[in-house]
Subunit: 150 residues, 2 copies
DNA sequence: ACATTAATGTCAGGCCCCTGATAATGTCAA
DNA sequence: TTGACATTATCAGGGGCCTGACATTAATGT
């Protein structure tokens, strides 16, 4: 594989690989941190989004999480089945269904926020403030370069 | 949202979020680039791993891809069903099943390699060589900080 | 007013990844 | 040899994401 191509900056493999590893471990750590709450990392993100934006619609949640409405629909069905949210039709807009946290949902969201902050802190423990800021900027520039409709 | 919290380096949200966005767009771009080959990004990664390591076992592939043997098992079943690989029992070891590329698999792997390189280039188009090297190092340090068994 | 378009919610089906469980095959020490 | 342990492969079931297809409602243009 790749026999001595020491031309530019290809040392030690692709950035896409490092990206995958970092997010893989981030997910594992967050799963472990959320073990007591009964929600997955993805579900936790949805609960936090609802906490920040009550009575939000399925489509809006999907856009916020960068997933399709069908994917978010599946998550909301599960979250409602498990008692973390309730979904009620919009009083005026006949088609929108509002999603709100239950008491269990608020409890889980609060614990999930603490868990997410703890994992983020652990991930950045070895970085200085300047390095953290730089990393965020580099990631944003990579994402921008990959944007389909730039 | 986020009303002026200019304390340290928390500007513009979490690194975990930026990580998710970058990998999301990377996956979308790679899916588009692989559209003609009939394989997904995950399948492409498996084909490349087999190309680099013929007669590899399911368990070894799973370790290389950081997934469980059960997950890899599902992918191999699909790849064999679609004619990209063949799986034959190991002549000596009795339990191991060797995985090898078919002619279609080799063709797809070659096209997939080109596609992956193209997407990587696009992602890093706006970064200097030094910035690329720094990004790779920062990602590695983040992954190390999250390692369970460090 | 009417037709077209956009937005929303939903069902069905598939892929990728996970945990739990099972079975068969090395491997190695007592 | 035998028994404990590790490795490998696999089945079953679930979560999270996707595309395709559909129906309903809102918004818009003529």
């Amino acid at each position: 594989m790749s026999m001595s191509k020491m031309n530019t900056s290809d040392e030690e493999g692709w950035i896409g690989y490092g990206l995958k590893i970092a997010q893989h471990r981030l997910r594992l750590r967050l799963e472990a941190e959320l073990a007591g709450t009964g929600v997955s990392p993805s579900q936790n993100a949805v609960l936090l989004a609802i906490a920040d934006n009550p009575r939000i619609s399925n489509a809006s949640l999907a856009r916020a999480a960068f997933v399709t409405p069908q994917s978010m629909q599946g998550m909301l069905v599960t979250l409602e089945r498990d008692g973390f949210i309730v979904r009620t039709p919009h009083p005026e807009h006949g088609r929108i269904i509002m999603t709100e946290l239950t008491e269990a949902g608020r409890t889980a969201a609060q614990a999930g926020m603490i868990a997410a902050e703890a994992v983020e802190r652990q991930m950045l423990a070895g970085l200085t403030d300047d390095e953290t800021k730089l990393l965020r900027e580099l990631l944003r520039r990579c994402a921008d370069a990959l944007d389909s409709d730039n």
